[in-house]
């Protein structure tokens, strides 16, 4: 079951979301979340921390940062994504 999750992600050609994946594998979302977390801990999936990537750096300060230092107020809430680590593509 755990490996099926990784295989489905690897074979997804036209975009995949966790809701679709849970229906496809007939899994509860909570169970799927646990499996995704397992693969992230194993390093086979990478948690693309977009929030971290776009947290405003000083170079952005002149354009869009908020004064309170909480980050860029123009940044919209990004959906979380998990990528397959390239070197581990083949199971």
């Amino acid at each position: 079951m755990l490996k099926k999750v990784l295989i489905e992600i690897e074979n997804s050609k036209n975009g995949l979301n966790l809701n679709e994946l849970s229906h496809k594998l007939n899994l509860d979302r909570s169970a799927l979340n646990g499996m995704i977390e397992f693969w992230v801990q194993k390093g086979r999936l990478v948690d693309d921390d977009a929030e971290e990537a776009i947290s405003c750096s000083s170079s952005c300060g002149s354009s869009c940062s908020s004064d309170d230092g909480l980050g860029c107020s123009f940044v919209m809430e990004m959906p979380k994504t998990y990528s397959l680590r390239k070197s581990d593509k083949t199971l």
Partner: protein, 584 residues
Amino acid sequence: MSHEHKHAYTQREGFTIDYGREAEHEIVKIQEEIAKYAYIEKEYPSRWLAIKLLEEDSDIKMRLQVLEGGKGILAIAEKSIAHLEKIYDDDVDVIIADHRYGWINGLVKETVKRTYQDRLTGSDKVDRIVTHRLLGIPIFLLAMWSVFKLTADVSAPYLDWVDATIGGPITNWIVAIIRVLGLGSTWVESLFVNGIIAGVGGVMVFVPVMMFLYLSLALLEDSGYMARAAFVMDRLMHVLGLHGKSFLPMLVGFGCTVPALYATRTLENEKDRILTGLLVPFMSCGARLPVYVLFAAIFFPENAGAVIFGLYFLGILTAIILGITLKNTLFKDKEDSTFVMELPPYRLPTLRGIWFHIWERTGSFVRKAWTIIMVTSIILWFLMAIPVRGGGSFAQADIKDSAFATVSKAISPALAPLGFDSWETTSALLTGFVAKEVVVSTMGQVYAINNTPDAIEEETEATTFFEDVGEILTTFMAATGDTIKSIPLIVGINLFEEEAEEEPTALMQAVRDGFEESSHGHSALAAMAFMVFVLIYTPCVAAVAAEKQELGMKWTWVSIIGQLVLAWLMAFVVFQGGILLGLG
């Protein structure tokens, strides 16, 4: 052996998981070794300990190492791990976890009876339509269209109110204070009226527009729809051969290009990262909106929302077409990227959350007006106050003879084929490199033909401070009423039909006349070409700095020059193509 054998190959008893023949065989081997040391077996259940050792639990390994016989058990476990890894070609903890999840899944299936329909949540049901392969894109476009219809049509009464308030009472108060200080009719008065008020005030007028834009985006964001939009577009990008994850930074680009460029860091592949970084600036950021609103109100008042929506759509289309072209040429890469996206459940946006977004983002816009735009306006005023021809003195000469006008005039012939080669338009595009809001503030300054203090005094009747405050409050109430009446405009119902058309402001009239002259009678086409140029060319200096940091110097130059060339070409096609087709 102290345990009863339930299966031939295992020592499992009671309610335990079957990890498969090979793994169970190795578990038994380790258990047999553990059984030699009664005090270890007394401390830890042997099966549990064997499994933990196969999973390479570092804490258990450390504890066992210091016990008598522990090293022997660890050696057996290591052999078992090596043996199992050879058989399964994977880590043993993966094999164990896989069986564990499989067992749990089987147990749930046997004990919990739920149909497919039962498992569908409300979010799932909505997602079946919103993220549908065929319906998803039209729904996304409809959502975008509604955003710009709301932004352009419903915000108009408040825009007029702010314009009248800044141009009337606020300007009068500032002029009065300057004159009380004995600085009337000096360059200080000109700096405030033609520099700061015309520049900063010209941008502040658009605060209501920005508030309505941020309101619409916050509704989409907080409801959870924006994540679906990213998923739908992401799937389209994937189908077109682009990196699916590219659309996430592009989505951020609708707010501000700078964080969008930083968001490209989520792409692992360097080629994909650079390509996305080159495409992100084509997403129309919020700073360009005042330009579109001003020009749409002047030249396309009946279809302002549709025109603005069209420009945002053109930005996405340009990025996709350019992306496909570059992906198949300079950035050819056969490696596929695979990832899975987590969609948050739909939520009912809260008033507090929506207000927080509006307040934060509008606050940033206003702060920018009082920093970058004010500094640019003051520098620009100085450049327009220094005469280089005509023999006038500082701040007294005609601005057409100023240093800034002279530089702009030298560049303007390059824009003649695009229909907007007046020095005023050229100067607005030049300062637009600093930030896109500055395009409007510069127009406010260079077209401020009747904005001299004397002219203001002539135009307005003498009023007291309290009369002005009363007028501001009365017109605010009227603007609120008109805004409520404007809401049905989103669905095409116009409640204003019976009322007389409003007179254009001096700036609007001056821009219209300027474009009419430079385009030789094709002002609407020239205006459209101008908006396309603003959409495509370099967003701002902060974006250039971010590009340099993320893409390197070489690609930053490619980006700047490429955007300028593409902006010129697209504006040329719009203007000349429009004339050829007999449009405008």
